[in-house]
């Protein structure tokens, strides 16, 4: 279980290669990369996405989510990398990879990690476009996605 808060751009393909190289006899590796979109929900061009975090609290929230994924699914290894600070369109924001003996656990754990990171990781997001800065509210869709796992999940994200 590896969890990182990245202040600078990173290359997911290199991180996936390193993650895979360290594995043993796992038959399945699943990875997901989330990228900053160049357009907001209203279609307006976004010049920058800014993710504000709360130092150790943010990292701790990511570690708790990763630990839950390990206790819930039969995965043997995972990595979660999340950017903070200003992020340009097209840059990776989040990268998760999971490894398991069989594919189902790896798929489900990656899906679970993303759903919880998207709603509970301690970040505040804002978009900048045309010199205007807008704080982003959590979307109903993100909440519904996280709700899929809610039966065993403890909501401690301060929401």
């Amino acid at each position: 279980m590896q969890v990182e808060l990245a202040q600078a751009p990173f290359e997911p393909s290199l991180r996936l290669a390193a993650f895979s190289a360290a594995l043993e006899d796992e038959g399945a590796v699943v990875s997901f990369t989330g990228r900053a979109r160049g357009r907001g929900a209203d279609g307006a061009a976004v010049s920058s996405l800014v993710l504000e975090c709360y130092r150790g609290v943010t990292l701790q929230s990511m570690k708790a989510i990763a630990a839950d994924a390990h206790s819930r699914f039969a995965i043997t290894a995972s990595i979660v990398i999340h950017r903070a600070g200003p992020i340009a369109p097209g840059e990776p924001i989040v990268f998760v990879a999971t490894a398991a003996r069989h594919r189902r656990a790896a798929f489900e754990a990656a899906d679970y990690l993303m759903d919880r990171l998207k709603t509970e990781a301690v970040f505040w997001k804002r978009e900048e476009h045309d010199g205007i800065s807008t704080w982003i509210e959590p979307t109903a869709r993100d909440r519904e996605d996280a709700q899929r796992w809610r039966d065993k999940v403890n909501d401690n994200a301060g929401n």
């Binding site: 709360y54 150790g56 505040w124 993100d142 994200a157 301060g158």
Partner: protein
């Protein structure tokens, strides 16, 4: 007695116009909500950012806490909007 550090995030930080400050330590049995009311009484950006506590969440010594939690001997209180997620 040591002072209390208050940290602000997201629009709370922007509207107040600072990300961190030290204040004189309130009585140990006063709550985060009491602290918010005291700060809001300063007026200006404080009043604007803190006038509606239902829009605010808090952490005491880096742990999420309901607004009615006593501050006790905490060193740091954080005030912020609900987290957006990653």
């Amino acid at each position: 007695m040591a002072e209390l550090t208050i940290v602000y995030f997201a629009w709370v930080r922007e509207v107040i116009g600072r990300d961190e400050e030290q204040v004189e330590r309130p009585a140990p049995d006063s709550s985060v909500a009491d602290l918010i009311a005291t700060l809001a009484a300063r007026g200006g950006g404080y009043a604007q950012a803190l006038e509606d506590p239902t829009r605010l969440r808090a952490a005491i010594d880096q742990r999420f806490a309901p607004l009615d939690t006593p501050i006790g001997d905490a060193r740091e209180v954080a005030l912020f909007p609900p987290v957006t997620g990653g």
